[in-house]
């Protein structure tokens, strides 16, 4: 959805030699995104394993690899 703005209306053309700084709203977006990823990982690790859902493939693989590693260590 680009609206009806023309190039001259979009952003002020650069009038200086150095590139502009990253806007604060972009930094806030990245921080929120990272926090959300951390929350999802913590929820997964706390035992909400989604047995029939998203995490199933990943966690089943991790569990089987861990079991294989333990067995390999014993032999």
């Amino acid at each position: 959805m680009n609206g009806r703005k023309t190039m001259s209306e979009m952003q002020k053309p650069p009038g200086r030699a150095t590139p502009p700084r990253t806007p604060r709203w972009v930094i806030a977006f990245v921080v929120i995104l990272i926090l959300l990823v951390v929350v999802v990982v913590i929820v997964h690790l706390m035992g909400f394993r989604f047995d029939h859902g998203t995490g199933a493939i990943f966690f089943n693989r991790v569990v089987s690899l861990t079991e294989q590693a333990i067995q390999y260590g014993r032999t």
Partner: protein, 178 residues
């Protein structure tokens, strides 16, 4: 891209993205009904409906702006794909939403099968909660993407700045006859 083609692509893009938003809102309502309702009939009919909406409405509506209209509108106009932060953020939101949606096809199918067999028990509650959380997160991210498309917050990337600077210098050189 000619103005008439651009207008057509923009119209398709708006229809599809707003339709995607509405479909996800409908999905969320069904997911909440499936999780909270005491009426067995509602619970048993909600999940097959969610499965159908996902496969035939949400997935196609999510892929069209991501693969077709979005790249066409950004690359076919002076806006570019990597020149402005708001376009990159929208792209990230779109890619993540579609990826999370495709990952969730499995639990949606699983719940639809349980509903069809009439065997939804408390053991399925994590999957039910997951569907509500994912739909709510999807709805919020699509609202943010719509807001970005309307407000177009300022912020040019270093790449966009270099491009615009080069174009400006070039046009000044042409005007001064160099």
């Amino acid at each position: 891209m000619t103005p008439s083609v651009r207008k057509f692509v923009r119209t398709v893009h708006v229809i599809v993205t707003v339709g995607w938003l509405g479909a996800v809102a409908g999905f969320l309502a069904l997911a909440i009904a499936g999780l909270t309702s005491q009426d067995d009939l509602i619970v048993r009919s909600a999940y097959p409906a969610m499965d159908l909406i996902t496969r035939f409405v949400i997935v196609p509506l999510s892929l069209i702006p991501l693969l077709l209209t979005g790249p066409l509108l950004s690359l076919g106009t002076p806006w570019g794909l990597f020149r402005h932060y708001w376009i990159i953020v929208k792209l990230v939101i779109n890619v993540l939403s579609t990826a999370i949606l495709l990952i969730h096809l499995r639990p949606i199918r699983y719940m639809a099968q349980l509903a069809a067999q009439g065997t939804i028990t408390s053991a399925a509650q994590p999957a039910q909660i997951q569907l509500v959380a994912a739909a709510a997160a999807g709805l919020v991210s699509l609202l943010v993407a719509t807001g970005l498309a309307v407000y177009k917050p300022r912020g040019m990337t270093a790449y966009g700045w270099r491009k615009q600077y080069a174009e400006r210098t070039e046009s000044q050189d042409v005007r001064s006859g160099m």
